[in-house]
């Protein structure tokens, strides 16, 4: 009897613990950790942290691990992990728009179909949704726009004896070159800080003219007027000493922030970088991207970069990650709109979520810029005119081939534009085996 009583008591205690355990499990949500890979902690990292703050208000059990991985390393890392069947992948990764077609084509099952998960894509800018669409599936959350402008130092223009207000209008490249010559003569500063191992400037010019690098079948086609005229202008800028050559991203940022040049041509997301030097307050102004003359379809607008967030299909915390993106990045709740508003002012991150475009910061004046220019309003209006560029899966190979040839063109190894383009085509064909 005693033994039976002991056994019964023990079973009762165990049952009690089990009940407590089960009920506590079902009442308290499991803690989960969402891992996110992105580059540029001042921009992408900052935006993600702001989004995290919004989400943990309603989901305190979720923690976020935002890992900073440099831009040029994140794609090989993702690729290596995908080859290893998903080992080491994060839950969410930031991928540049020009690379996403490559990933979707080469690793079709790697990413989570977010359209199937209920995201409403009609609320995002169409030109961002295009590259991430495959058939009926859409795979990412569009993030920032790369709407470009010509950034000029108003103080150097004044020093050169000119009025900055005269230049706050859409210009052609011929007009910009003239301005650059005067500024160089009077102040000694080249008008453009130029990243010598980057393709961006040429791409911005070609895209602004409505040109393409690939034909409709995805084959390389760089012998167009748009590309040739862009190369000619770039060479002219170099020959006239209007380009300050900087190797690598950090050198380039140094050059434009530390007065080694009087401006640069790049996208809205440079706001954070430019603002990181408070001494330059009141000195920067942004004017429309210069127009490439003589090419039908050209506009005073272009795009450089811009990326989107992608969730991996095999991610450990896929559900939480998708819920997070849906409720902060793709919802028009007051908290989400306030989030988009905040990251715009704080780091210049202009999202492509259409309901957020009417928020106050999108139209406000910014006292960091010369004349309190409402830069975001300007970028937003230029964004509407950006011609679409076809990237294809071979964008990276084309990019390397063309900027290698461009560098040698600058250094005089190739004498004509046709020779340069032929060399670029050769490198593209041989390195891709096509």
């Amino acid at each position: 009897m005693k033994k039976g009583f002991k056994i019964a008591l023990a079973l009762l205690v165990v049952a009690a613990f089990v009940c407590i355990g089960v009920t506590s499990c079902s009442n308290k949500p499991k803690p989960s950790k969402v891992t996110i890979w992105c580059w540029d902690p001042n921009f992408n990292g900052y935006s993600m942290k702001a989004a995290e703050a919004v989400y943990v208000k309603t989901h305190p059990e979720v923690t976020f691990d935002i890992v900073d991985i440099p831009n040029d390393q994140i794609e090989p890392k993702i690729e290596a992990a995908l080859q290893a069947n998903g080992a080491g992948l994060p839950d969410i990764a930031l991928v540049q728009d020009f690379s996403i077609e490559k990933f979707l084509q080469n690793y079709p099952k790697a990413f989570a179909d977010l359209k199937a998960a209920g995201i409403d894509y009609s609320k995002f800018a169409p030109y961002k949704v295009g590259p991430m669409t495959v058939g009926k599936s859409i795979y990412g959350i569009p993030f920032d726009t790369g709407s470009t402008g010509l950034w000029l130092r108003a103080d150097y223009i004044k020093k050169a004896g000119l009025k900055p207000e005269d230049y706050q209008k859409p210009m052609t490249w011929a007009q910009v070159i003239k301005l650059g010559e005067i500024v160089k003569a009077k102040t000694g500063k080249p008008l453009f800080a130029y990243e010598s191992d980057s393709f961006d400037t040429l791409r911005i010019m070609v895209q602004s003219s409505g040109g393409q690098f690939f034909n409709d079948k995805g084959e390389l086609d760089i012998n167009s007027d748009a590309v040739k005229k862009s190369l000619v202008i770039l060479k002219e800028l170099n020959d006239k000493g209007l380009l300050f050559m900087a190797e690598g991203w950090s050198n380039w940022v140094n050059a434009l922030n530390n007065d080694q040049s009087a401006g640069f041509l790049d996208a809205i997301w440079m706001v954070g970088t430019v603002k990181s030097k408070p001494e330059n307050k009141g000195k920067w102004m942004v004017v429309p991207t210069p127009l490439l003359e003589g090419v039908p379809g050209a506009a005073n607008a272009s795009n450089n970069g811009g990326s989107s967030w992608f969730v991996f299909d095999k991610a450990a915390n896929k559900k939480v990650a998708i819920d997070f993106l849906k409720s902060v990045w793709a919802s028009d709740s007051p908290d989400s709109l306030a989030f988009y508003n905040d990251i715009l002012k704080a780091c210049g991150a202009m999202g492509t979520f259409l309901p957020s475009q009417s928020q106050p910061n999108y139209t406000a004046q910014d006292d960091f810029f010369y004349g309190n220019q409402a830069v975001f309003k300007d970028f937003s209006s230029w964004m509407a005119k950006v011609p679409t560029l076809k990237y294809t899966a071979n964008y990276n190979s084309m990019r390397t081939a063309v900027y290698n040839a461009t560098l040698l063109f600058f250094q005089g190894k190739y004498k004509t534009v046709d020779e340069t383009l032929a060399a670029a085509s050769k490198e593209y064909k041989q390195t891709t085996g096509q």
Partner: protein, 297 residues
């Protein structure tokens, strides 16, 4: 000894047991990758899918002038940097061995330290030194040797020079230590006899030291050659992906670019690696035949 004795059987089994872990590791980490690379080599890869192309990758390789240019760069580095480094290492070893008596240990350490630094860290450092607004240009301009900064990293010739300088800085001390050890084995009586015969220091160096150190020089040459054939970190980081415009592209870096940066074509990258291995092997063989035999005479 009774070969069928139980003690012998025990030793036999025990022996096999001891080497089993090594065999397992070898099979998993060496044999399996090599065998599977034979499989990869015959396929054209595109991310998650691949198709059989037989020898197609090798046909493609024969028309890929950028790969052969990269191999050519490896050869240039071998031809220039290795003799330079070995000569320098020899000189330093001789000076440390015969000339400098005090602080010899300190000098040895200082020269040896570069080779234990991280490859990435020192490449970044050299990049900072050689960039257009970097320390070297600032020094040269401030001391009025130059009037305009030279863009070392944007100029194909100077970019190669920076790579060679970086490699020499890193590996001279390493080889110097081997030569120091070799020098200890040379009898001082030989030098004394040479002095008596009236040989100058230079003559002694070229006619006595170098021939007697030939086995060590051979070792340095073979290891340096195979290392230079695999050069990757310096062109990747110092001159960013073999820049400017592929002027410092090397074979390994090109393989990495094919596999991870532009193409995801692992089949082609594997085929290229086989060629690199073959070239390394040929060089090692040539050097051992050429230098090895002469040492034995």
């Amino acid at each position: 000894m009774n070969k069928r004795g139980s003690y012998y059987r025990y030793l036999n089994r025990f022996g096999w047991l001891c080497i089993t872990p090594a065999i397992v590791f070898f099979l998993i980490f060496m044999a399996y990758p090599i065998l599977s690379s034979l499989y990869y080599m015959t396929r054209k890869w595109k991310g998650a899918s691949n198709t059989f192309v037989g020898l197609g990758n090798f046909v493609r390789m024969s028309g890929d002038s950028f790969f052969w240019q990269a191999v050519g760069h490896n050869f240039i580095y071998m031809a220039i940097q290795i003799p330079l480094m070995i000569l320098l290492a020899l000189l330093l070893a001789v000076i440390l061995n015969q000339g400098i008596k005090r602080l010899r240990g300190a000098f040895r350490t200082v020269f040896f330290l570069p080779c234990v630094t991280s490859l990435v860290a020192y490449s970044v450092l050299f990049r900072i030194l050689f960039q257009t607004n970097g320390l070297l240009n600032n020094l040269l301009i401030n001391s009025h040797i130059l009037s305009e900064p030279i863009a070392y990293l944007a100029n194909p010739f100077w970019a190669n020079v920076t790579i060679i300088l970086a490699l020499t800085w890193r590996w001279t001390g390493y080889n110097m230590v081997f030569f120091l050890v070799g020098l200890q084995n040379i009898d001082t009586e030989i030098y004394e006899a040479a002095e008596v015969d009236g040989a100058s220091k230079a003559r002694q160096f070229f006619r006595i030291t170098m021939p007697l150190l030939l086995p060590v020089i051979l070792f340095s040459a073979v290891t340096s050659t195979s290392g230079t054939m695999q050069l990757f970190d310096e062109p990747n980081i110092l001159t960013t992906m073999g820049g400017p415009a592929n002027a410092t592209m090397t074979a390994s870096l090109y393989i990495y670019r094919q596999a991870f940066v532009t193409n995801s074509d692992f089949g082609y990258a594997t085929a290229l690696s086989y060629v690199v291995v073959l070239i390394s092997g040929i060089f090692a063989y040539i050097q051992i035949r050429f230098l090895g035999n002469r040492g034995e005479k």
